[in-house]
């Protein structure tokens, strides 16, 4: 068993807005081992990015860590002084963001920006840092690195910018790299290049990675373990193979079936999750997924939320029902999705009425 690098325990992050308290992260616990790649998946607003920003204490106003511990190598990040946290960011944990254009300074040369990331953290002297820049750009496979250090961000293409961001993230040799949707803004062929690069770097440098994404395919490709989040809570967690083969939480199950696969030859209907994610300032009672769950039972609505219980070796899920207890015919019914029948009837009614043209 590898050494635990990061341990998040019962983290609560809340936003104090005029409309009430938004529980963005609501009691999240997980860990990242040294050298491993952990995927954090969920839809927008489920709290995955806020979890990452909490770890780095970079929460935007009016967000606050209300309770919980974030242990990194035995030190609690939530208790660090400003001095300590500056040292922690970059040196221990670095983060790369979705949009490489807005996260780079447009008026500073790429090389200079990477150099700054190093000198700001006192790990390397200025001369040493300057020498490392080219080496770093080569490591992330930027061609002609020697001449490109003098380029400005606008002279880099999207993929190259993301490589530069990764170089910057790795510049202080952190032991954990948090990547928030690192490939979402990129084209598919470039996305493939970046995925491959991240795999190689993980192997070469042994940097642990926390990959935040909504893309299940990316998780399947890059991660060893996965955490599924919904409405600020972890609903399922386990080894990637296990989660993809036998997801136990209905949300994970639906999420996996709501994306079309490029290798499917039949046009099955996609499982669509009805409704919208809940308003986090007024979450529903009971299990937070129950209003959208296709396998809901009475208990889900009234009983307090179920706990994260072990359902298989290394796999935990937060559900009263669990997919393995759902009858096969109910699963088939859910796959068909209610939308189609309903919509079809309405459509018929309306076509009959709107026949006449008035001409254009």
């Amino acid at each position: 068993m590898a050494q635990t690098l990061l341990e998040v325990e019962d983290l609560h992050t809340q936003f104090f807005t005029s409309r009430g308290v938004v529980r963005a992260v609501d009691g999240v616990s997980f860990h990242v081992d040294a050298g491993e790649t952990l995927g954090v998946v969920g839809e927008s607003g489920c709290g995955k990015t806020m979890t990452a920003l909490s770890i780095l204490r970079l929460l935007p106003d009016p967000g606050k860590i209300v309770s919980g511990r974030i242990m990194f190598r035995g030190n609690d990040v939530t208790k660090m002084t400003d001095e300590e946290i500056r040292d922690f960011r970059g040196n221990d944990v670095a983060m790369i963001f979705q949009d490489p254009m807005t996260s780079l300074n447009p008026v500073t040369k790429i090389g200079k920006q990477i150099e700054e990331a190093m000198t700001a953290h006192n790990r390397f002297t200025e001369t040493l840092a300057r020498g490392r820049v080219i080496e770093l750009l080569k490591r992330v496979r930027v061609p002609a690195a020697e001449s490109r250090v003098k380029d400005y961000p606008h002279q880099f293409s999207g993929g190259m910018r993301q490589r530069a961001m990764i170089a910057m993230g790795l510049s202080n040799e952190p032991s954990l790299l948090i990547a928030d949707e690192p490939t979402t803004a990129l084209d598919v062929t470039v996305q493939a290049q970046i995925i491959q690069l991240m795999k190689q770097l993980n192997r070469e440098l042994g940097t642990a990675m926390m990959l935040i994404t909504h893309n299940m395919a990316l998780v399947a490709s890059l991660c060893q373990r996965v955490v599924v989040m919904y409405a600020g809570r972890i609903v399922e967690e386990g080894p990637v193979d296990q989660i993809f083969k036998s997801p136990q939480h209905p949300y994970t199950w639906s999420l996996l079936r709501s994306v079309p696969r490029v290798d499917e030859s039949r046009k099955d209907r996609l499982v669509s999750i009805k409704g919208l994610p809940p308003d986090l300032s007024h979450p529903p009672p009971g299990c937070k997924f129950h209003p959208r769950c296709p396998f809901v039972v009475d208990r889900c609505k009234v009983d307090p939320e179920p706990s994260l219980d072990e359902v298989a070796l290394g796999q935990v899920a937060r559900c009263w029902v669990l997919m393995r207890n759902v009858k096969q015919e109910d699963v088939e019914e859910a796959k068909k999705s209610a939308l189609s029948k309903e919509a079809a009837e309405k459509l018929k009614a309306s076509t009959a009425e709107v026949g006449g043209d008035a001409g254009g």
Partner: protein, 338 residues
């Protein structure tokens, strides 16, 4: 929903091809001497058949959105012809143009930018009806409510403003607006790209339901190949202003003929860790070149893993010819050899 079971009802006695694009060009001059231009669409031949969904894929900057704007006559072509339902829309003006426009509508990518924030949903949906003088005022109001119901929204929402809706709901409004005037052809330009996965699934299912019900023809443009394959009957792949391959959705995946198609397909991760472990993506070198000065010969040759350079690939532009399966065409000197 399989192609086989819905095809017969759909194909009427008329021409099976609804949109026929022949040698379409669109160049955007960028000033300066020497007549430099962005060759966004640079000689495209393509047909869209009645009742089908044609998927159009390619990386950003390959010209797919420009092509969509040419087909819907939102932009004039630089050269070439686009036949819609037997009429050359590049030559239509005035009333003739208006009549054709009514048959083609568009659904846009960004549900936040494509709805006027100062109009109520009712006004947004009624505008196309007013524009084409459909029915009486009362009938239009009724139609607006039907449209909302049609796309799964509450018909009493007519007095609400777009900001009161979520992204997925706004995209439904965009779809309702496109359906308002009973078009036969709808261009979906990245219609689900901005949506969350579970919401995207709802919209994809809705688009399929509407197509079946109204015998719609779709041009579905997206960079997400998995979504395109899921929705389309046939798929066309564009690279740097040209169509490089067209085929049935399964043929193109099972035996792609163009090395670009092959690389594009192999680069998409599959949500299955077991498949992922064995997947060997063909990683293309570099990125898409500038459409101002496209490479000589085959445009793909600088990135192509099988190009013979110097040789035929860097000198001669390959024509779009039948290769592989029936109804499959590819523009490559060494088609099928990648």
């Amino acid at each position: 929903m399989q192609a086989a079971e819905r095809a017969p009802a759909r194909v009427a006695a008329t021409d099976p091809v609804l949109v026929h694009i022949k040698g379409a060009y669109k160049h955007f001059p960028i000033g300066g001497f020497g007549g430099l231009a962005v060759r966004a669409v640079d000689g495209v031949d393509l047909e869209i058949r009645r009742g089908e969904t044609l998927g159009l894929v390619g990386e950003s900057g390959c010209g797919k959105s420009t092509l969509a704007r040419l087909i819907t006559a939102l932009m004039p072509v630089t050269a070439g012809s686009i036949m819609f339902d037997g009429q050359d829309i590049t030559r239509l003006r005035g009333g003739g143009m208006r009549r054709v426009r009514r048959k083609m509508q568009m659904i846009f990518q960004d549900p936040f930018a494509s709805l006027d924030p100062r109009m109520t949903v009712g006004d947004i949906l009624q505008e196309p009806l007013d524009n084409f003088h459909v029915g009486s005022v009362r009938e239009r109001r009724q139609r607006v409510q039907e449209l909302l119901r049609l796309v799964g929204l509450n018909p009493n929402f007519t007095n609400r403003y777009p900001h009161e809706f979520s992204g997925g709901q706004r995209q439904r409004i965009g779809i309702a607006r496109a359906l308002a005037v009973n078009p036969s052809f709808i261009v979906c330009d990245e219609a689900v790209s901005a949506l969350d996965v579970s919401i995207a699934a709802q919209i994809i299912n809705l688009l399929q339901d509407l197509q079946r019900e109204f015998q719609l023809t779709y041009l579905f443009i997206a960079h997400d190949l998995a979504v395109v394959r899921h929705l389309s009957d046939r798929i066309a792949v564009m690279y740097l202003g040209k169509v490089v391959e067209t085929a049935d959705r399964n043929d193109i995946y099972d035996h792609p003929q163009h090395p670009y198609t092959k690389a594009l397909l192999s680069s998409i991760p599959v949500p299955d860790p077991v498949v992922e472990r064995d997947r060997a993506p063909i990683t293309l070198k570099g990125e898409i070149p500038s459409p101002v000065n496209p490479p000589s010969g085959c445009r793909f040759h600088p990135r192509c893993p099988i190009a013979r350079v110097p040789g035929v690939c860097s000198e001669v532009e390959p024509p779009l010819e039948p290769h592989g399966a029936q109804d499959q065409v590819a523009a490559c000197h060494f088609a099928g050899q990648a």
